[in-house]
Symmetry: C2
Subunit: 203 residues, 2 copies
Amino acid sequence: MTKGILAILSAPSGVGKTTIIQRVMADDPNCAFAVSHTTRTPRKGEVEGRDYYFVDDQAFQHLVAADAFAEWAHVHGHRYGTSMAEIERLAGAGHDVIFEVDFQGGRALMRRFPEAVTVFIVPPSLGEVHRRLVGRGTDDDATIARRMHQARIEIATAGEYRYLVVNDDLDRAVTDVQAILRAERLRSIRFPERIRGLVAEPT
Amino acid sequence: MTKGILAILSAPSGVGKTTIIQRVMADDPNCAFAVSHTTRTPRKGEVEGRDYYFVDDQAFQHLVAADAFAEWAHVHGHRYGTSMAEIERLAGAGHDVIFEVDFQGGRALMRRFPEAVTVFIVPPSLGEVHRRLVGRGTDDDATIARRMHQARIEIATAGEYRYLVVNDDLDRAVTDVQAILRAERLRSIRFPERIRGLVAEPT
């Protein structure tokens, strides 16, 4: 079995990365989503073990102390992390693993998995991010202002990612991410046995 | 205007790369095919300036002496080359340029354009190449034997290319190449102004 790829997708809050990833995963049965641990409370409709593993600060701290996370970070006053156990569970099942992380998590994962496929999703404009955050209706003005400030800082790191996808049209952004995953599965470095097998084929 | 990409596609004779490239180009108006010069005689249906620029040995030698080629090589007793003028003509018009070259041409182009996207197309098996060469009906037994020997040598170089596409199903191979081109157009290194523009957007 050819090893699955690891893909790291990041975007500032309000750019729509969760929607993009859900669409990509729905069309691709081999893709598995790495569920993160978080200390924030569930939003309406979020399900334990599907969207996040929801844990309290003490449980999270125990996992940090046990070096259980591939990456973890403070984001907007809460902690988020991806456990090595979660990654091993998915990769062991032959899945391609998609990480949805913020830029701090992205940096930590890039250090741990330098061969990972990295995609940064940007909005068509910062004004559009503001409209989406306001439209979502889950954040107060101070939180929105903090997210906007953070978005600008995160976008400045986009060049650290291999690919840049602009979410100005959801269908196009989804197809872009699908093309990236498809292309990355075709990297020749993944198929040394196939090349050797062809060269050695008896006449 | 964002600069077009250069894509180098190689495959041994009889693997079907010309058919794949024709299908990719037909679906993608921004892609332009870099027409090679050759000293071989036209096959049935081949058109001067569309499939090749057909020239005699003396004319080809004059171009070599003038350093007019980005790459040129002897293949099966004839000479093939891609002129810098052809590449500049297409890139100047904002096109993505696709090169269809053998592995010697591929190596020469990789040296001259290290940022090029490189794709090697392999057959599902060498037996399949033999069947296609016999089925094409244009080569005698000695030529087929020479092409088979050459195919094995060329496939051994596939790891020098970034991507490997297996042509066991034409539709899938075409979609693979299209995904590679789409993904490569999304490399973040191509969009520094876009990133800077977002970061600098007034609140």
